[in-house]
Symmetry: C3
């Protein structure tokens, strides 16, 4: 949506250096920007691209404005400011109320008139869908779900049953919420299934990435609090509880009954074992996993960066001979 720099500056309380009547109609990287582009500079690693940018305007820190060859919108947090302004310049598509004739809605379901249900959508018994909800093609929402206003299910999402979601949730394709937890009891005749009868409760402003799975609780519910952000291909097991504004990058796995605090950050391919409690403000490094309760905020890690394979092979051999090295030191000490 075209908007003038003056209007953007006023709306978000930014100082503008440049022509307030200049208009931007798209966002671009510094490098690929053109005369209708809004761009931003938040990381010093892109600073060398600033002098050559052809953007209409750049959002940047006050101290970087001197190097800007174009209009500047000043902000102490250019990335967050860009996020806000980009949402104006490139708004999400608006919801067009209506139910596609190929969608199948159970008799006892209630769908708000302002919701949009796309081709092939299936809605189960007793499910309620709020105002302005977008349910993309192929999405299956099972029975006994409650979907808050302004939620968006892009396409081919599956909510199995008993899933409750707050307002403004955003769910990418392939997401599965409310499938059975992995509950099995060993017997002399092999595994028997432990019925998984809990639901899933998800707060407001939650976004879940493509092909991520959030299992239902075994008895009580699995809980995701407000503002949580989960990337693609993550696994949230039964009865996990994730605190507000915690974020998890792709291929992270949280095992059953673990409780994660608020504002935690899990890097890619990280995770935790089950049945532990992690306090607020914990950061877990890539490929690392927590194996016991964490009571102190901070960063936790345990991974080895890849090295040339010959270097690594030597290191591995040394590691395996540690016992012998210790013996040799003992001998020397005697």
């Amino acid at each position: 949506m075209p908007i003038s720099l003056g209007e953007l500056a006023t709306r978000f309380g930014c100082e503008l250096i440049g022509d307030p009547d200049a208009v931007v109609s798209k966002v671009s990287s510094l490098q690929n920007a053109g005369p209708e582009s809004l761009s931003f500079l938040s990381s010093s690693s892109f600073k060398q691209q600033l002098p050559a940018t052809r953007a209409a305007a750049v959002i940047l820190r006050p101290e970087d404005a001197v190097d800007s060859p174009v209009a500047s919108l000043l902000s102490d947090d250019p990335y967050a400011m860009y996020a806000r302004m980009a949402a104006i310049v490139c708004p999400l598509p608006t919801v067009e109320p209506g139910i596609h004739p190929s969608a199948i809605i159970a008799d006892s379901a209630r769908v708000a008139p302002s919701a949009q249900l796309e081709p092939g959508v299936v809605v189960g018994e007793r499910t309620q869908i709020g105002e302005n909800v977008y349910v993309g093609p192929g999405t299956v929402i099972g029975p006994d779900c409650i979907i808050g206003d302004d939620c968006c299910f892009i396409a081919n999402v599956t909510l199995v049953q008993q899933v409750e979601i707050g307002a403004r949730g955003r769910f990418h394709p392939g997401v599965v919420i409310g499938a059975d937890g992995f509950g099995n009891a060993m017997t002399p005749d092999g595994w028997i299934k432990v019925p998984q009868v809990g639901g899933v409760r998800i707060g407001r402003d939650v976004e879940i990435g493509a092909n991520t799975t959030i299992d239902c609780g075994a008895i009580d519910d699995t809980v995701i609090e407000d503002g949580v952000r989960i990337d693609n291909l993550c696994m949230i097991a039964h009865n996990v509880h994730i605190g507000e504004h915690t974020a998890m990058a792709a291929i992270t796995g949280i095992s059953g009954s673990t409780t994660i605090g608020k504002r935690c950050m899990f890097s890619g391919a990280s995770g935790t074992v089950g049945h532990i409690t992690v306090c607020d403000d914990v950061i877990v490094a890539a490929k690392s996993f927590l194996t016991k309760d964490v009571t102190q905020p901070g960063t936790y890690a345990a991974s080895f960066p890849a090295q040339p394979v010959r270097t690594w092979a030597k290191q591995l051999a040394r590691f395996r001979r540690l016992g012998r090295l210790i013996e040799r030191v003992k001998k020397l000490e005697k």
Copy 2:
């Protein structure tokens, strides 16, 4: 389904301490139980919740009964007993025979009259679907599949082709079975695809978690034996063979042509390389992976629990200087 404690005790050969006419109609955790709840105590970590429970009855070990404030159902394995009783109290929904008008069934497919096919289901040529099978919305079952009686496909499952499944299988949303294995031959012009012409054979009583993928065999079939349980987001590559009652937790990957024995257990984010053989009764710890044949039952591990990042950074530095340390010891020895 409401059922009296007396009937439960008789049906499963349990001793009951309490009123046999008392009725339970749901299952609950000890903490959240009410007067119609059946609960259980299997792990000592929940023992402190027992005295305050308001359940109608608790399944527990005989030695714990003294601390139960309510009726007790005695079992040496309360978790397995709970699994059995919960299946009675909270039965799975019954299959309602019929094919939704929006389902598309190939002419040469055969669907048992007792099966239920939900909206948007697609069934390919020559595929056979057994008695009481539930095929949830959006599920695609390709050509030349054979689906055993009482199987259940929750929703949005895909069987590509040539998949044979025994009775009572349970497949969660997003499961993909029979997609091409990862077979590529390098040539001077780049990769060329190796046709993947095998099928997948799955035994009875198998459960596969959401978004897990099981590839078809390259030439011979990929095989999953009876009673196997696989959690979400796992990868079973082409020509893998998994023995009876083996279980795998989420994000586990088994590479091509590997044979896994019976009753193995893979913890979360574990796996194996390809072309190895793993004997029966092997347990693999979380985040660990097997790199060669395993011939001895037991537990195998190789992972590092996350530590505070400064501790870890020091450890990593020490690890990298191991070669120098060895040199220093050698010098001392001289």
Copy 3:
């Protein structure tokens, strides 16, 4: 498709030892081959199966022909030759032009008359679908996509929007391309979403495995070059660039804005951090991940093979006491 050995030999310029009129109509492993089977021997680990094979013909290296009890097709690269011949013997199903009545095509979309669209397919506004494209059941192709000739989407694939794909791409079930990248800016009020407005550009001859996700770019596009092969359950984050003929095995994750060179190979459960550049011809070992720019071709690793748990526990204890060991050596040195 039945074909004579003579025709195969001529077509691919192979020397044939045996009857040129003998016909093969299927492919088999050496062990399970019958009189209509074409088989191959590429790895020495299967050599002991050669003398007993009942195949009609075996593709093998000239030096192995002496041990073949049946007709031999000679090739210096039997695996690549098998790949080519198997594609003739077991051709992919041909595309049957037409749009199933249950498919929903947006008014402004253009679908080539030779394309086949299966039940439940949805095609968005302005999307173009090329000649001989197969779009399997339940596949959703969102707006503004361009699909090259001869592409194949097996079933239940989702392209969100702005995805451009070259000729002959092959996409397995559950693949999600073009979902939002994981872009969030932290503010005092929690995360705010950074709009993800880029697209995805995929070259020719690309194959993507089941349930893999490739996110759209944040601003500029995510790019996958010609001939790339990606296995199941992989994650390609926003603005990643993957060079020609690079291959990635399952559960590999490439973090945002990382550039990968040509002909790289990522083993299972490997990956990289974000914002790094990896040169051509890099191999990453299983479970290993790159944490900085790689400028030298070669193999990189950092993983520990699983060991019996007691051995591992001792190793872990020794590792943790490394600091103390170093102190002891220091003391000895004084």
